[in-house]
Symmetry: C2
Subunit: 316 residues, 2 copies
């Protein structure tokens, strides 16, 4: 199942999200507007806006606020992608040159900052203190995670525990705030809010683990970057940790890293570490699905379940 | 009069600001905390927190909220200084090496972003929608101004009109939000809020103009960077525009810039353009002072007046 067919029940809402996103980055200075439109218009899956919308569907909600949340969340996501590319020095994302490869470092930074500021500006119009606090806190968690990575020297994270913490701040935190705030804006009970929060968190963890698996297993042309590029840049991900644990020769990290990188990436790619990582992602998805068991069966809950299955089954 | 003696009536509050600022950047990861403490602890004048506090003194206010505003404002200021140094590639600020000269570009960016996110996080606890909106909008105005500058090629701004717009977004916007939000948090009337807003705006404009004058006239050792460094980097400021207008030979910009830079800086420094710029700054200060005429004469109003006089009379 493609994301398009999974998300068909909210396709009207997602079209509106596209429109509002484009509006949200319109600025006085026309050349900049078009730059930003390109930035946010490059056709991501809009998973986070979809989660914000879906999680607000179980009780009557103020639609405008939900759209605002959806837009603000996607802007934060776009900003972090830009900064990530700068940190990773990636020159390609989804097959297109990254902003950081085309612009100066400064311009890249500022473009990301502008999107963050715009997100905060938009979020402020929701007029819900709880949502605004969660939103601001999420920004901080993301930034703190990025800084921690940047300050931690060449190899990061050092162990599996830190890996989980890292993907929590890098990815799961924004998934969490999407679903938690969607629940809050639709006047869910505290129990329901906690359930949606857990769904978002666990889905986000699974999503990032699968991303990290795909960095090893996906088709290089579809990936748009060399296979194993995380490891090549010194970022350790779940498959690496499983591989190290399973291979006695790999236990000595410095010896491990002194191996030929192509050979190492290939060894991990074809090792049981990939399946072990997938099992871990499935475990997170299962926890996510269990969390929303308290919600009634309906069209939107089905979409959430389908979406969570898609997250582990996707090939890109 | 030194800022210390001018600000004596709120010296207790400013001590608390120092304490809260340090607390505000404490993070889980200890090495980072100390980095941030150095960042915000480098002893600026704390003008923006002072303005937030002073502008809230005319009616009873929730003190906690005012302190929160003061801290958030200073964090935004600290973040913009870091990003400015990166954009300008300055290696020294106030005689100390800048963050951007000691860290990688990425770390610098992220440190600035973290402070912005922390500021948003702190501001969210004020629980006043109007203040939060003004605050978020100010972040955007600052970012948009920085981007506009970065995208505008080597020489910027192109004319006096754009110069005013530039210093409004770069400096006056944060002064404005300090005083406007201080007034809002102390339940001022709409007329009083508008007056404080105008005071902050005009004071901020004067402050930046004087900064731009000092870039030509201050002692190089006190300045901690070469005289005329704005112009050397392609940034045109008010003294430059006045000089160009007064000197018929300077009217042709490309010819003007082809001159020997040391000679040019010296010519501007000793020209009537400096006094003309100062007159302009004084005009802004006068407008600021007139704006708060509606407030009763008291200790705090005297501080605001003294502070605005200090802004034009200072030598650094």
């Amino acid at each position: 199942m493609s994301t398009n067919s999974i998300l068909a029940p909210i396709q009207g809402e997602l079209r509106k999200v596209e429109e509002l996103l484009r509006e949200s980055v319109r600025v006085d200075y026309a050349p900049l507007s078009s730059v930003f439109e390109t930035l946010i218009g490059s056709g991501g899956k809009r998973l986070r806006p979809a989660l914000a919308i879906l999680s607000s569907k179980f009780h009557p909600a103020n639609e405008d606020n939900v759209f605002t949340l959806a837009i603000a969340t996607e802007l934060v996501h776009a900003a972090t992608l830009i900064h990530d590319d700068l940190i990773d020095k990636s020159s390609v994302r989804r097959g297109s040159p990254t902003i950081s490869s085309r612009w100066s470092g400064t311009a890249t930074v500022l473009a990301g900052d502008f999107l963050l500021a715009r997100a905060a500006d938009i979020a402020a119009s929701i007029e819900n203190f709880r949502v605004m606090k969660i939103f601001a806190r999420t920004l901080m968690v993301i930034c703190e995670g990025e800084i921690r990575q940047d300050f931690s020297g060449k190899h990061w994270p050092p162990n599996r525990e830190e890996y989980y913490r890292h993907i929590e701040s890098k990815t799961a935190s924004l998934f969490t705030s999407s679903t938690e705030c969607g629940a809050i804006l639709s006047n869910c009970s505290e129990e329901e809010i906690a359930a949606m929060r857990s769904f978002g968190h666990n889905l986000g963890m699974a999503f990032q683990i699968v991303d990290d698996i795909l960095d090893f297993t996906a088709d290089e042309r579809e990936l748009g970057k060399p296979v194993g590029s995380d490891l090549r840049q010194g970022t350790f991900t779940l498959p690496v940790f499983y591989y190290i644990e399973q291979d006695p020769h790999a236990a000595n990290i410095s010896e491990f890293l002194s191996e030929d990188m192509d050979r190492l990436v290939n060894a991990i790619r074809t090792s049981p570490a990939i399946e072990a990582s997938k099992t871990e992602a499935r475990r997170f998805v299962k926890t996510a699905q269990d969390a929303i068991a308290i919600f009634p069966e309906n069209e939107y809950k089905r979409v959430l379940i389908n979406l969570s299955n898609y997250v582990v089954d996707r090939t890109l």
